[in-house]
C-alpha cells in the first residue's frame, strides 16, 4: 500500500505534511520514473486556485527540472482540462496541484498518465519507492530541464467538449442555467462554455479564490443553499454546482431540488446506452442499483469495480466501455476522455434535456428510486484484514444471502437489497453501505449489519 498517495493523489495540510521539501522530492522521483523510458520526458503542470499553488508548483517543477524533464506550465486549469491537454498534447505525464473539495488548508498533488487518465496504483507505488529510496537520476548541468508556459489548455479543452456535443440543438432551446463554481477553477471555463452552448448563464461564486469565501468546495446539500435559492427564484432550466477542481458536478432540477449523484449518473448512462444501442457502463460497487436497472432496461450492461476514479477509468478503457462514473457526481464520457469531467457532464445533461424535450425533474423521475444508507465505523488499520476474514466466515452460511461479491470489501446481495462492508483505503474506518427499495427495510438492515461489524471489531481489539 502507498504511504503518500491516497485515493486521489497526495493530500495534506499546507506547510505541515504537504510542504516544499516533499514536492521537490516527489518531482525528482516522478521525473526519475519517466526518465527510465523517455530521454527527455515532457510534463504538463497546472493548478486549481488554492493559495499555496504557486509555492508547490514551483517546488515540484524544480524537482522535475533537476532530473532533466521539460516542464510546461499551463497555469490555472480545471483538473479535466489538464487531463485533456496531456492526452491531446505531446506529454509523457501531467501534474495537477489540487486538493479538490478539501478545506482550504489542504493541498495536493495528483498524477496523470500520457493518455490523460489519473495515475494507477502501480505507478504511484513505484514513484513512492524511488522517493523513499532517494534513487533519483539527477541530470548533469547541460541537461537540466527547460521550463515554459502555455496558456492554451483551457481553450483546447473547451473546443474538445464542443466537438463532442450537439451544440446546435442546445442553442435552439433558450436554456437558462445557474452555475455555482464555488470559487473553484471551474469559473475559468464552465460559464463561458455554457454561453457558447447558447444558454443564458447566471453564475455565482465564479472567480477562483483559494480561500473559498462563500461556500465549502464540496458540493453537498448543506453547501448549496445559495444556488438552490437562485434556481427557485429565476425560473431556469437547471442549476449546477462544481467542486474545487471541477471534475465533479452536482445538479439542481428546475424546481430547486438537489439531485444525488447516482441519479444524474443513471440519467446520463441511460441516454448514452440508448443512443449507442447498448454497451458496457462501469461504476464502483458502491453505486445504487438504480444505475444497473436503468442501464439494463436501456439495453446495456454494467461492470463493477473497486472504489476510486482511476480504477473506473482504467477498467473502462480495457472494456471499451461507453460510459462510467461514480455516485459523487464524477461522470466519465470516454468519447472525450477517460476522466471525471464536470463541464462535459453539464454539456451532456443539457443535450439530453434538449433531445428528450422534458424538464430535468421529469427525466430524473423516470429513474427507479432506492433508499441508501451510508455509515462509518472506527477501526484501527492493523486489524482491518482480520475483520474482513471474520466477516467472510460469518456471512458465508447465512441463508438470507443470495450472492456474495468481493470486488471491494464484502457485498451481500439479499432478497430486498444489498449490504456492502469495506475498509477505507485512507482512513482508520470501516464503511457500511445499505440499499433497498424501502426506507424502513434499509434502516432495519443498517441496524443489523452495523452491529455485526462493530461487534467483530470490538472482539478483535
Amino acid at each position: 500500500m502507498t504511504k503518500l498517495f491516497g485515493t486521489n493523489g497526495i493530500r495534506g495540510v499546507v506547510n505541515k505534511d504537504m510542504n516544499c521539501e516533499l514536492a521537490i522530492g516527489i518531482g525528482k522521483a516522478w521525473g526519475t520514473f519517466f526518465k527510465k523510458n523517455v530521454k527527455k520526458p515532457k510534463i504538463a503542470i497546472g493548478t486549481d486556485a488554492r493559495l499555496s499553488n504557486g509555492m508547490l508548483k514551483s517546488a515540484i517543477t524544480s524537482g522535475f527540472l533537476s532530473i532533466g524533464c521539460d516542464v510546461v506550465d499551463v497555469g490555472l486549469v480545471p483538473t479535466p482540462s489538464l487531463q485533456y491537454t496531456v492526452k491531446e498534447g505531446d506529454f509523457d505525464s501531467g501534474v495537477i496541484i489540487t486538493a479538490s473539495h478539501n478545506p482550504p488548508q489542504f493541498n495536493g498533488i495528483k498524477g496523470v498518465s500520457s493518455d490523460g487518465t489519473e495515475f494507477y496504483k502501480d505507478v504511484e507505488e513505484e514513484i513512492e519507492r524511488i522517493y523513499f529510496d532517494k534513487t533519483f537520476i539527477l541530470a548533469n548541468w547541460p541537461n537540466v530541464g527547460n521550463y515554459s508556459n502555455w496558456d492554451g489548455a483551457n481553450d483546447l479543452y473547451v473546443n474538445g467538449i464542443l466537438s463532442k456535443i450537439d451544440y446546435k440543438l442546445i442553442k435552439k432551446q433558450n436554456f437558462h442555467v445557474v452555475i455555482d463554481c464555488g470559487h473553484g477553477v471551474g469559473g475559468l471555463v464552465t460559464p463561458s462554455l455554457i454561453k457558447k452552448l447558447g444558454c443564458k448563464v447566471t453564475s455565482i461564486f465564479e472567480t477562483p479564490d483559494g480561500t473559498f469565501p462563500n461556500r465549502n468546495s464540496e458540493p453537498i446539500p448543506e453547501n448549496l443553499s445559495e444556488i438552490i435559492k437562485q434556481v427557485k427564484e429565476l425560473n431556469v432550466t437547471l442549476g449546477v454546482a462544481q467542486d474545487g477542481d471541477a471534475d465533479r458536478a452536482i445538479f439542481i432540477d428546475e424546481n430547486g431540488t438537489y439531485l444525488w449523484g447516482d441519479k444524474t449518473l443513471s440519467l446520463a448512462g441511460k441516454y448514452v446506452t440508448k443512443s449507442k444501442k447498448g454497451g458496457i457502463s462501469v461504476t464502483p460497487v458502491t453505486t445504487s442499483t438504480c444505475f444497473e436497472e436503468i442501464i439494463r432496461e436501456s439495453g446495456g450492461e454494467v461492470a463493477y469495480t473497486k472504489v476510486g476514479s482511476p480504477i473506473v477509468a482504467k477498467f473502462m478503457k480495457e472494456k471499451k466501455a461507453i460510459f462510467g462514473g461514480e455516485e459523487n457526481g464524477g461522470l466519465i464520457f470516454p468519447e472525450l476522455h477517460y476522466c471525471r469531467d464536470s463541464s462535459m457532464s453539464i454539456a451532456k445533461i443539457l443535450e439530453i434535456i434538449a433531445k428528450e424535450k422534458k424538464p430535468l425533474s421529469e427525466l430524473i423521475s423516470e429513474i427507479p428510486n432506492y433508499e441508501m444508507y451510508k455509515t462509518k465505523i472506527n477501526c484501527p488499520n492493523n486489524i482491518k484484514e482480520l475483520v474482513m476474514k471474520e466477516l467472510a466466515e460469518l456471512v458465508k452460511d447465512n441463508n438470507e444471502v443470495l450472492k456474495i461479491d468481493k470486488t471491494d470489501g464484502i457485498k451481500l446481495f439479499l432478497k430486498e437489497g444489498w449490504v456492502l462492508m469495506r475498509p477505507s483505503g485512507t482512513e482508520p474506518i470501516f464503511r457500511v453501505y445499505i440499499e433497498s427499495k424501502k426506507i424502513g427495510k434499509t434502516k432495519n438492515l443498517a441496524g443489523q449489519y452495523n452491529k455485526l461489524v462493530e461487534d467483530i471489531i470490538q472482539n478483535i481489539s
Binding site: N19, C20, E21, A23, M55, S58, G63, L65, L138, W141
Partner: protein
C-alpha cells in the same frame, strides 16, 4: 551533492558555485527560505522579484528558490528567463522589497548562483548578504501557516523595459553597431531593443546558446576576435560585447580596438552629459586618467572600495551622474542605479549620434597609461596579516596613502594598489605609471616588498 552547505559559495557580492557540486535545487530552496525571512524579518517587507539568466540550470534553481520564499510568507513576482536588466527593471518598477537574479554572471556555463538587489537598484552590501548566508546555514527557519503562504505571480518585463528605452533614446543618424551577446542572456533583450531604437545592428552570437559553446561568457579581449572582425568587415561605428547575464559591457571602437571600462567611462563623462557637474564614483583600481580627464571639466571624483554593490550605494548617496568600476561595471543613474550594461552602448551611440565624430577620434584624445596586474601567491591564513602590516608601514613611509580597500599609494608618476583576494590565496598588486620604465620599477619594488613581508610573517608564525 551532500547535505552540508559550503560556506565559500557565499561571496562578497553574490552566491556562486558549480551546479550539482556546490549548489543544487535543495540548497536554493534553503536560500529561498533565508531570503524570504530576510525580507520579512530584517527589512520588514512583503515581496520579492525573482528572475533567471539563460543557463541550463537556472530555471530549476529559480523555482526551488521561489518555493522557499513563498514558504515563509513572502509574495514573488517571477520575471522568467531574462537578461539581468529586464528583471532588475521590472522588480524596481513593481517596487519590490528585494530583487533576486539567478546567474553566475561571466563564469562558465556549469556554474550558477544568485545576486540580490534592493528594490531601488542598490546591490546588497556584503554584511547584508552575510545575513542571508547565516540564515541559510542556520537550518531552523520556520515556514508559515497555510493562510500566509506567499503567492507567485508571473510578470513579463519585456514591454515596459523596451518602452523605457524608447522614451530615453532617439537617434538622428543611422548608427551601425556590432552586437555580441555571446549567446547568453542579452540575446533575450539587446537585439530587439537596439533595433527598436533604429540602430543598424550587426549580430554576433545573438542566438541563445545556453552552453556558451561559441564564446566564453567573459568578454575578455581574447574572446572578442569574431566581434572585432565583424566591426572591420561591416564598417561599424562601434561594437559591444556583453557578459553572461548582462551586467558588464565591453566597448570596441570602429577600428577594432577594445576599450577598458575606464576609457569608456571617460568618454561618457566627457561627451555624455550636457552639464559637467556632480560626483563621479570610481573604485580604487581605476586609472588616474579618469581624474585627470574629468575633474577639470567640473566633475568631482570620489574613490571607493572595489565592488559594484558599493558603487550603486555610493552613487545613490552622492546622486552621481556616473559610476565606474574598472572590472567593467558602469552605472548611469539617469537611467538606473543598478548595473544594467545595456545603457553603456546606448550612451555611446547617443554620443556618436550627437557629436559626428568617430569613436577612435574621441579615444585618440584620451591618454592611456601602462598598467600591470600581478598575482602574488600567499596562503589564505596570512594574506590579511600581510596586507595589514604593509598598511602600517607604507602609511608612515609615504604621504598619499589610501587604505579604504587594501592599500593604495599615489606618486607623482603613478600609483600602486595592494589588496588581498577575497576568494583565492593571492595578494593582488596593481600598478599604473606614466611610462613603461616607471611601471617596471614600481612593480619590482612593491612585489619584492610584498614578498618580503610574506616571508617575515611566515617565519614569525613558524
Amino acid at each position: 551533492m551532500n547535505n552540508t552547505i559550503s560556506k565559500h559559495i557565499f561571496r562578497a557580492y553574490d552566491i556562486r558555485g558549480i551546479y550539482n557540486k556546490d549548489i543544487s535545487p535543495d540548497l536554493f530552496y534553503k536560500i529561498g527560505l533565508a531570503a524570504g525571512s530576510y525580507v520579512k524579518n530584517i527589512i520588514g517587507g512583503t515581496n520579492l522579484a525573482a528572475g533567471n539568466d539563460i543557463r541550463p540550470s537556472s530555471p530549476c534553481l529559480v523555482h526551488s528558490f521561489i518555493s522557499g520564499v513563498c514558504a515563509v510568507g513572502v509574495d514573488v513576482a517571477y520575471t522568467g528567463t531574462t537578461s539581468f536588466g529586464q528583471t532588475l527593471f521590472k522588480g524596481s518598477e513593481l517596487k519590490q522589497n528585494l530583487i533576486a537574479f539567478v546567474t553566475a554572471s561571466h563564469l562558465p556555463a556549469d556554474w550558477n548562483g544568485i545576486k540580490f538587489y534592493y528594490g531601488d537598484g542598490v546591490g546588497l552590501p556584503e554584511e547584508e548578504l552575510m545575513k542571508i548566508r547565516d540564515l541559510t546555514m542556520s537550518n531552523d527557519i520556520k515556514v508559515t501557516d497555510w493562510r500566509e503562504v506567499g503567492e507567485v505571480k508571473s510578470v513579463d518585463p519585456k514591454e515596459s523595459y523596451s518602452d523605457f528605452f524608447k522614451s530615453k533614446f532617439q537617434f538622428k543618424n543611422k548608427i551601425r553597431v556590432a552586437l555580441d551577446c555571446g549567446g547568453a542572456s542579452m540575446t533575450l533583450s539587446a537585439p530587439d531593443i537596439f533595433k527598436s531604437l533604429g540602430l543598424n545592428v550587426q549580430e554576433v552570437f545573438c542566438e541563445p546558446d545556453p552552453l556558451f559553446s561559441k564564446r566564453p561568457s567573459d568578454p575578455k579581449p581574447k574572446n572578442l576576435s569574431v566581434l572585432v572582425n565583424n566591426i572591420k568587415e561591416n564598417n561599424c561605428d562601434f561594437g559591444v560585447a556583453f557578459d553572461g547575464d548582462g551586467d558588464r559591457a565591453v566597448i570596441v571602437d570602429n577600428k577594432g580596438k577594445v576599450l577598458s571600462a575606464d576609457q569608456t567611462g571617460i568618454i561618457i563623462g566627457k561627451h555624455g552629459f550636457s552639464e559637467k557637474k556632480g560626483t563621479i564614483i570610481v573604485n580604487v583600481e581605476c586609472s588616474k586618467s579618469v581624474k585627470e580627464q574629468l575633474e577639470p571639466l567640473g566633475f568631482q571624483i570620489k574613490q571607493i572600495k572595489v565592488g559594484h554593490t558599493f558603487l550603486t550605494l555610493e552613487a545613490k548617496r552622492e546622486k552621481s551622474p556616473l559610476g565606474i568600476e574598472s572590472s567593467g561595471h558602469l552605472i548611469l543613474p539617469e537611467y538606473f542605479l543598478f548595473d544594467d550594461a545595456i545603457v553603456v552602448p546606448l550612451k555611446i551611440a547617443e554620443i556618436l549620434d550627437k557629436n559626428k565624430v568617430t569613436l577612435d577620434e574621441i579615444i585618440s584624445k584620451i591618454p592611456t597609461y601602462p598598467t600591470n596586474k600581478e598575482e602574488i601567491e600567499c596562503s589564505d591564513h596570512i594574506k590579511f596579516d600581510v596586507v595589514n602590516k604593509l598598511k602600517k608601514e607604507l602609511s608612515i613611509e609615504f604621504d598619499k596613502v589610501n587604505t579604504m580597500d587594501g592599500i593604495r599609494v599615489d606618486f607623482d608618476k603613478g600609483w600602486i594598489l595592494i589588496r588581498p583576494s577575497n576568494t583565492s590565496p593571492i595578494i593582488r598588486l596593481t600598478v599604473e605609471a606614466n611610462d613603461q620604465n616607471t611601471l617596471k620599477e614600481m612593480t619590482y619594488k612593491f612585489k619584492e616588498r610584498t614578498n618580503n613581508t610574506i616571508e617575515e610573517i611566515t617565519k614569525k608564525n613558524v
